[in-house]
Each structure stands twice: as structure tokens, then as C-alpha cells.
């Protein structure tokens, strides 16, 4: 049995026809090509599938798309407008914690949810929210720092950055210490 679902994803309206058992992670990855959303476990344990549904974090691997008629979904691809990077993305870049990158979208989405709810989070909140995602390469410390840096940028009103300029400034460049 199919369900008609009106789903707004990253600001764009979609009208989808999905079977009852289709998971949001599959809708996003395979119907809509939003591959930043990962499936690391399929059981809501690793956090790599986390997206924002109506502003709150959800494990897309545990969500049935058919239940989301009228909902708004945000993935990493929609964090910033075309040609721009979000402060969160810049912060994750500058704190140089990215290793294999598989868990990174999940961390960034939790960071977005955290900063939307607590714009000036203290360390305990950063750790609690971001620990929803597992990282085997061991970048936790770096990602906690990234969230704090992103909070600082947003507080200073620096929310979007020009992607081209960021590439110029950072791609394979020497930074930091």
C-alpha cells in the first residue's frame, strides 16, 4: 500500500508516493540523492543517519517516510544556500578534526540542532548532544571544539561564508599553529 507524502526537504517541496515500510534514510539517500545522510547501523545507535525533522534531530533509519506528511526535513546539503558554507561547516574545517568523514554529517546535524536550541551551549551540553553520534577514528575532542567555534561565529552574526573563498583560503593550505 502506497502513501502520498508532501515532504519539504532542504527548502524544496516534494510530493512522494512511498510504500508504508520505506525508511526516511532510504527516501533521502536513494529517491532524493542526498547521500550525506549515512546508514551506519540501521538501528538508531550510531547517529550517522541523523537529520532534522521539523527542527528536531531524528534517526532517519528509524523513521517511516509515510508518517511525515507535511513535515520539513533538513540534511547537510541544505545547511547553507548554494555557493555558501554554514558556520558549522567552517568550524568543522578549521578545527581540523575530519578523518574518514563518515560520521561527520551526523555530527554537523546534531551541532545544528544543538545551536538552534542552545545558542551558547556550555561544554556539558555540547558533549551530551554530540555524543549521539559515534566516531571510531576518534575525533570527538575536535568535534566538541568545532561546535563551540560554530557557536561563536553564529553569535558574531557570521552564519554563511562564501564557499569559493573558503576553498581558496583553506584547501590544502597550511593553517594553525
Amino acid at each position: 500500500m502506497s502513501f502520498k507524502v508532501n515532504l519539504k526537504v532542504n527548502g524544496k517541496e516534494h510530493v512522494l508516493e512511498v510504500p508504508a515500510h520505506e525508511r526516511l534514510v532510504d527516501t533521502l539517500r536513494y529517491r532524493l540523492g542526498l547521500t550525506s545522510v549515512k546508514e551506519g547501523c540501521g538501528r538508531g545507535e550510531c547517529g550517522t543517519c541523523i537529520v532534522l525533522v521539523n527542527g528536531l534531530p531524528r534517526h532517519s533509519c528509524l523513521t517511516l517516510t509515510a508518517t511525515l506528511d507535511g513535515a520539513e526535513v533538513l540534511t547537510l546539503e541544505g545547511l547553507a544556500p548554494e555557493g555558501k558554507l554554514h558556520a558549522i561547516q567552517l568550524a568543522y574545517l578549521e578545527t581540523r578534526g575530519v578523518q574518514c568523514g563518515f560520521c561527520t554529517p551526523g555530527f554537523m546535524m546534531m551541532t545544528k540542532a544543538l545551536l538552534d536550541t542552545h545558542p551558547e551551549p556550555h561544554q556539558e551540553q555540547v558533549k551530551e548532544w554530540l555524543s549521539s553520534v559515534l566516531c571510531r577514528c576518534g575525533s570527538y575532542h575536535y568535534y566538541f571544539a568545532a561546535a563551540k567555534l560554530a557557536a561563536k561565529y553564529i553569535k558574531e552574526g557570521k552564519i554563511y561564508f562564501d564557499e569559493k573563498q573558503v576553498r581558496e583560503k583553506y584547501h590544502m593550505k597550511v593553517i594553525g599553529r
Binding site: 545507535e45 528536531l56 534531530p57 534517526h59 546534531m110 548532544w129 555524543s131 549521539s132
Partner: protein, 234 residues
């Protein structure tokens, strides 16, 4: 979620996140809710997890069921035949078996607002901090009046004869009315609890360790309640 006739009523589809935004996370009489929240899955799951879901699951890992037992909660179930109220204790029959009939839905849980001088705690720990089942879990509720135990409710993830969350009435009976002291709690843990607690050895750990930790949980859980009552903060 609402307060009505001296009772707290929580709708079945209330998420743990929604609960965290209410007085249940700031009033010391409900402190155990904060403990349970902190150890439930990871934070992200708490936006989707519901009270009703935890109650009908009826497993040892249904942490909020264990906590609500310590509040002597009732479950309200609805069907085309009407509405009925069952004590949570009687609702959870055994591992994954509840009293919910095939045509019923859980509507809400409710429990009486505790008096002043009360608090609660929830003890859960494992090999790591998060995403854990818990070696054991224990929920503790205490009301003190001039140092005496006016009310005490204790629930564990399992007890003797039931592999699902249940109350430890015998331990409660031993403690009720007595003056709170560390020696009293020690006695309850070492001498009374083991008679009514049965633990299991499985691939994760041993019955011996689980029993020892149940004692440790009883001690730490009740002491935490007392400190919270005295300090008035979570």
C-alpha cells in the same frame, strides 16, 4: 502532560524530550527523571522515544517503566469498551508481556504528586557512559519527615520470579517508618535485598556481580534521594 486532581498525567505519546522541558526535570521531587534521561540511549533517540513506548515494551531496559514503578504509577488503557486504570506493577507481567489487551491502546500514565520532603533517583551504569543496557537498573523514591522514612518505593529492572521491572516490597517494608541512616541502608542492602532479588548470569556479566551491584545501587540510590531532599536541589 498536565497536573489534575493532585496527579501528574503524562500522555502516552509524550516524548522524553518533551518531558525534559517540564517541571519534572527541575523540581527535586522528580529528580529521578533527570537521572533516567541522562542514561537513556543517546540524546538523539530521546526526541522520538515516548513514555507509552517504554511502558508497553515491558523489558528490563524499559527505564521509564522502572522509574514510574517507584512513583506507584497507574496506566490508563482505552478501547471501544471504555477506559480502565491498572497499576503499572500489575500491568507489567513478565519479560515483554503486559496486561494490554489486543484491542487496547495505552492513553496515559499517572501518578500522585509527591509531598514536600520527597525525591527520587535512578541508578544505571555499565562499561561505558552512554548507549548502555545497564548492568542493573534501580529506581528509588523517598519521603523523609524529621529523619524518618515516611515513604519509600524501590524498583529494579528485575526481581526474584519476574524478569521485568518490579517493586521490591519487602525491602520497602523493612525500611518504612525507620530513621534513615547509612547503617540502616547497609542492612537493607546486605541482608534484606538478597532474599528477594534473583540475578542472571549471561554473556555480558555474572549473577554474582549483578546482585552485588543491586546492593550498591540500593545504597547509592537511597543516599542520593536523602541528599536531594536535604539540599532541595537535583
Amino acid at each position: 502532560m498536565k497536573i489534575e486532581d493532585g496527579k501528574v498525567r503524562i500522555g502516552a505519546t509524550t516524548t522524553l524530550y518533551e518531558i525534559s522541558r517540564t517541571f519534572l526535570h527541575s523540581d527535586v521531587r522528580f529528580a529521578g527523571f533527570v537521572d533516567t534521561w541522562k542514561k537513556f540511549g543517546t540524546l538523539a533517540i530521546r526526541f522520538s522515544a515516548t513514555i507509552g513506548g517504554n511502558v508497553v515494551a515491558g523489558t528490563q531496559y524499559s527505564d521509564y517503566a522502572t522509574l514510574l514503578l517507584a512513583y506507584n504509577a497507574n496506566v490508563k488503557a482505552v478501547s471501544s469498551r471504555g477506559e480502565r486504570s491498572i497499576p503499572l506493577e500489575k500491568f507489567i507481567l513478565d519479560k515483554r508481556i503486559t496486561d494490554l489487551r489486543p484491542d487496547e491502546l495505552v492513553k496515559e500514565v499517572e501518578f500522585a504528586i509527591p509531598p514536600q520532603g520527597s525525591s527520587s533517583s535512578f541508578v544505571k551504569f555499565d562499561r561505558r557512559e552512554l548507549l548502555i543496557a545497564g548492568i542493573i537498573t534501580g529506581a528509588f523514591f523517598l519521603t523523609l519527615e524529621e529523619g524518618k522514612i515516611r515513604d519509600v518505593k524501590i524498583a529494579f529492572d528485575m526481581v526474584k520470579g519476574k524478569r521485568a521491572p518490579a517493586r521490591s516490597h519487602e525491602v520497602e517494608g523493612f525500611l518504612l517508618g525507620k530513621t534513615f541512616s547509612e547503617d540502616l541502608i547497609e542492612k537493607a542492602a546486605e541482608e534484606v535485598l538478597p532474599t528477594y532479588m534473583e540475578r542472571i548470569t549471561d554473556w555480558w556479566t555474572t549473577a554474582e556481580y549483578r546482585l552485588d551491584m543491586s546492593k550498591v545501587a540500593l545504597r547509592r540510590g537511597l543516599l542520593k534521594c536523602k541528599t536531594r531532599i536535604e539540599k532541595g536541589v537535583i
